[in-house]
Symmetry: C2
Amino acid sequence: MTRSHEAMANAFIPGKVMLPPETEQLIARRDRLLGPAYRLMYDEPLHFVRGEGAWLIDAAGRRYLDAYNNVTSLGHCHPTVVAAIAEQAATLATNTRYLQEGILNLAERLLATMPQGLDRMMLTCTGSEANDLAFRIANSATGGSGVIVTETAYHGITDAVAQFSPSLGVAVDLGAHVEIIPAPCALTEGEGGFGIAIEAAIARLRRRGIRPAMLIVDTMFTSDGVWPGPTGFLAPAAAAIRQAGGVFVADEVQPGFARTGEAFWGFQRHGVVPDIVTMGKPMGNGYPVAGLAIGADLVEDFGRNARYFNTFGGNSVSCAAAQAVLQVIEDEGLQENADRMGARLVSGLAALSQRHALLSAPRGAGLMIGVEIRRDGGPDRMAAAAIVNGLRREGVLISSCGKDQNVLKIRPPLIIGSAEVDQFIETLDRVLEGLQ
Amino acid sequence: MTRSHEAMANAFIPGKVMLPPETEQLIARRDRLLGPAYRLMYDEPLHFVRGEGAWLIDAAGRRYLDAYNNVTSLGHCHPTVVAAIAEQAATLATNTRYLQEGILNLAERLLATMPQGLDRMMLTCTGSEANDLAFRIANSATGGSGVIVTETAYHGITDAVAQFSPSLGVAVDLGAHVEIIPAPCALTEGEGGFGIAIEAAIARLRRRGIRPAMLIVDTMFTSDGVWPGPTGFLAPAAAAIRQAGGVFVADEVQPGFARTGEAFWGFQRHGVVPDIVTMGKPMGNGYPVAGLAIGADLVEDFGRNARYFNTFGGNSVSCAAAQAVLQVIEDEGLQENADRMGARLVSGLAALSQRHALLSAPRGAGLMIGVEIRRDGGPDRMAAAAIVNGLRREGVLISSCGKDQNVLKIRPPLIIGSAEVDQFIETLDRVLEGLQ
């Protein structure tokens, strides 16, 4: 069986390299206290004590350009969000069993970013909980249980959601009600390819007597290796699952909140309207808040009968944090910045790919970018790991993804500036020089 | 089918009473934005804008004694916790894929409250996620899937956990792998009664070819109606599930963190050592943080193979909040205060029960107290609802629980003082007078 740290791209592997004594001690203490389920990143794990803007600062005072963390999308410790959290935490922090205006103002503002038909908002704490709730609602609304996902998809870690998150590795069983389809890379060449794969998956479910409940995709296919286009390929996919009586869930936990530059939500790039949109990670710039948008009809049956109460989901402080995030994205023009800085990054990467044989042409949208590392015509996982760890040694943080773990996963905060983008490209250039 | 707002004790039922126009408008706006799954409490829902100590303040400036909220156990907006959150949020808010000392310090301190053998800590955001993770680990460690719970138990709202939370009502199906047993009320009279019920449930699972994975109980049986004793009855229960190859999970989401006064954790009152202890609600005094304690051996298989990463679980700010909570409990002697104030409350309630026929003798431990409302020898759900709503009109917040929804559920914050306890008793006295 594949060991879990092999299944996870860029996992720290104990014993692989010599570590400073302070790091060894922290790791030993961590193993003793947190046990074996926790993974660190990089050959030499990092110990951070402070963050600001696009930067993380380690215990020795060294600064790292954080081009990986898509939670603190507005930059680490954004003062507007910090102030909103502090103020609300000092005023009232209670739950949805009481009337409060904050959650209503937030829902109104979030729903205004959605297409018509997605007119109800539900709040959870984590993206996992949002996808778990989407599954429960899809169950209730369709009477089915079948789930279709891409082969290296990641949707979360509750029991139900882990069963449709194949990227967790073979040690976590897929559910008997789960069918996987290839990532869109192989499927988008022909006309309607992705839709055809979904039809085949539906047929496999049906052959086993399982009624389809939902197709769920990260609309940028992040852990599948970042597959931004051609835009539009999601439309036949959504049509196919609906035709079979299931619903189409857009998992926007990673692409959402302006990251793709072109649009506020990843699905909007494809001109498709999902039945459910789940969201999380950057929603509170680090504060635990997540949720979903859904149409009134779809949630009717579940809502009337099952009810939903999440003690911390939609609590007063989470709503204040999420409101502040939306305000900052607007005030600082961050969707536009993601678009401009993403273009600058892609153009720098494209230039590097002309000079470095390992680097394929970049692909992405806004500040969600993937670059394949290939050698002799095939994916080169080891070289990708060497680049990720080389960058880390040079003070730049990214990771890798994809079925073959050979895709550099680059997702800087939305506030990144030109100088930082240029520094990223220069550092990558230097690391690649060192490898060849 | 029972409608969900009937299944939920103390749910607001639209149309039951006339409401002020401002309340009607907020409810209408809420229905339009959040949909039908959300429930409010009380015949006249409350709109809060501020909290301090044991008090919640509504939009008109009226103060309510919060004798119900077991999340903000240190009192609303406790300045030490608010300051810890604000400071850490302004410094660093990142995840467990990097080394950080905060999470290690927290784990060390939490594990120091546990008996020997519970030596690993895992962090989640919600109690639901903690119970979901406990189920995944129990699955992995035992090779079984069978779950045993009490008949009105509540353990959370993920798909897996809702399947073993019968208090959600008949609209939420129990899993085919779930067996329910009566609340301990009927079972603790005979020698080892609770253990015998569990043996019978194990036999029912086995008859259907289901291997037992876990027995999970809220160690104060809160939603079952608050069953504090006789202490010790959990020991044969734990023995029975272990004998069958399963594990014993103590759900301390409600009883934990000094609430029971006598002990820091509810299970300690029973002199039993659980295999897994889950925790949540008051852990961050409102900040979303939860988790579990477990033995190294039990988590070994799951941890090595499945790994666990929760984006917000164990984030820097959650650890700072939870550390502050532990510090305040110690500095302010809150376990002792829960013990003393709980005794004062119980003695006041006992005196009232002598004068008001509706009120049975109170039962509880520390500041987790239940009082049955009975008439003509049977449970009186309507009278319990009238008392809960009568108290709310008089500015005191509690709710009800139990299979028959006739148990007053009283759980003030741990910081409550004598004057507030006396005010509670006086108000209840007045409300009971008004009913008779």
